[in-house]
Amino acid sequence: MAMFDYWNPHIERMPAEDLCKLQEERLKSMVHYVYDHSPFYKERFKEAGVVPEDIKELSDLTKLPFTYKVDLRNTYPTGMFSLPRNRIVRYHVSSGTTGKPTVVGYTKDDIEMWSDSLARALTSIGLGRGDVIQVGYGYGLFTGGLGLHYGAEKIGATVLPTGTGNTERQIMLMQDLGSTAIACTPSYFLHIAEVAEKMGVSIRDDTSLRVGVFGAEPWSDETRRRIEEATGIKAYDIFGTSEMSGPLFTECQCQNGIHVWSDMFLIEVIDPKTGEQLPDGETGELVITTLNKWAIPLIRYRIGDLTVINSEPCECGRTHPRLMRILGRTDDMIVIRGINVFPSQVESVLMTIPEVGDHYQIIVDRKGPLDIMKVMVEVTETGFSDKIADLMSLSKMISKELKGVLNVVAGVELVEPGTIPRSEGKAVRVIDKRKV
């Protein structure tokens, strides 16, 4: 019989209608709070012709205006904050690959809420006292390292704060200090597994590792299968963005959707074009409203990730809604000859082909007026035939599979193992050489 552990059983298994009531109360006070504390929101509400008193029940949410990442950039550094700087106990800053970085801040209570969310999540994947959690996310301005660190300490686990890089030492410490779980990007874990093999270390037989908490980049179920089969660990998806706090939510042991805690966040999925709310089961853009966050609360913030919500209670007994699939950010999407392509779709095709290695890169370029897409994949030894014809038909087969899923013609370039750059943080999946 399956046994499920909970960090906060009362909240995690609260009946849906009670959760809705709780959300309604918190939404109402949150709307008042931002209106009174943040000049930015006061202005935004005025423009939309709405006052806090208009929000009487959950369905009034749609009266509120959206907020966007660009708002955070335009109000750099702290123009969207609801509290003065002397109330902030910590900042994190996103890398800002396009334009200015975005700054987020936390009160003591905000840090507490964040750790609490992760404490529930880590407990839901069977971690707790006695576990050694190797945190292989970057520490510093990035939220990944410190976020996981606080969550792991909260549940009484032992933290091994390796951060990113120095892969051989990561593997040595994993063995010597008995890491039972690792948190990092899935692409970095694949790299760790590759280096371990070269060092003659089998993750399955020579380490105590049994759980991986992987996120900060979209990844597919096919990659999950590869990781689990190759290393014998259970691989769980983790989700969260710096605007929301950092990494916050994971799947539970059922591996069937990411549980989003309703007492902390109110989520909607909308049609990105019309802004209309979509029902459960339909793919759309994720929009979040914070219910329990004070330094920089967000109202109807458009995260940009495309996902599907499932509000059915999970087998594990948790009643909070689940994100069923993170397809990627609208920012990650590439448009090839007018057709939308997500790197995660390419990945899901490649990872079913055994002749292809775990790493890949998509190159987009323009030839005259035409977009061209090329996928670089590494040929594994398992799939290597010394006949040229076999290799040619391999690349043709991959191309055909990609066409079937993406509806776009993609060239395939077979490259030697180890030649696609490995990443210690977020993997660079797409190189777009087109000049706009």
């Binding site: 070269k198 040929v379 594994t380 030894e381 290597f384 035939s385 010394d386 006949k387 040229i388 290799l391 040619m392 370039e413 077979l414 490259v415 030697e416 193992p417 180890g418 030649t419």
Partner: protein, 144 residues
């Protein structure tokens, strides 16, 4: 068994790739007897016969190359006009297909060596030896 082990490598068609392969073998003291490169656009396949195939395979594999071992036949070929004909005609008449072939001449012997990959190894061995054609063994390749 008279089949010998050939090493095949997947390489990208880029400057310096062959150099990296040969440096790896040279550092390990592995001597190349014969080599051929088949190219197909962006990539190619290097096939070679070396004096110590086990060691050659291991060092290449450990250095991260995509490498495989293939069983081929090393056929002694008279170094005169018609030498090749005698061999491939014997195979052709017995319906054995040659997937690919390459040849080399040794310093000592007055004979050349033809490396062939065929679709039916056992049958090829039978018909060639039946026709009085000599196949070189692994030891003989090593000693050249």
């Amino acid at each position: 068994m008279v089949a010998i082990k050939q090493i095949s490598l997947f390489v990208e068609n880029k400057p310096g790739r062959m150099a990296k392969v040969s440096k790896t073998l040279s550092d390990a003291g592995v001597n190349i007897r014969a080599l051929t490169v088949a190219e197909a656009g962006d990539f190619g396949v290097i096939r070679m016969v070396v004096d110590d195939p086990e060691k050659g395979y291991k060092v290449l594999h450990d250095n991260g190359f995509t490498v495989s071992e293939t069983e081929v036949l090393a056929v002694e070929m008279k170094d005169i006009p018609g030498g090749l004909y005698e061999i491939v005609n014997t195979l052709g008449e017995s319906d054995v297909n040659v997937d690919y072939a390459y040849a080399f001449v040794t310093t000592k012997a007055e004979r050349a060596m033809l490396i062939i990959r065929v679709d039916n190894l056992e049958k090829a061995r039978k018909v060639l030896t039946g026709a009085g054609i000599k196949l070189a063994t692994k030891d003989e390749i090593q000693k050249i």
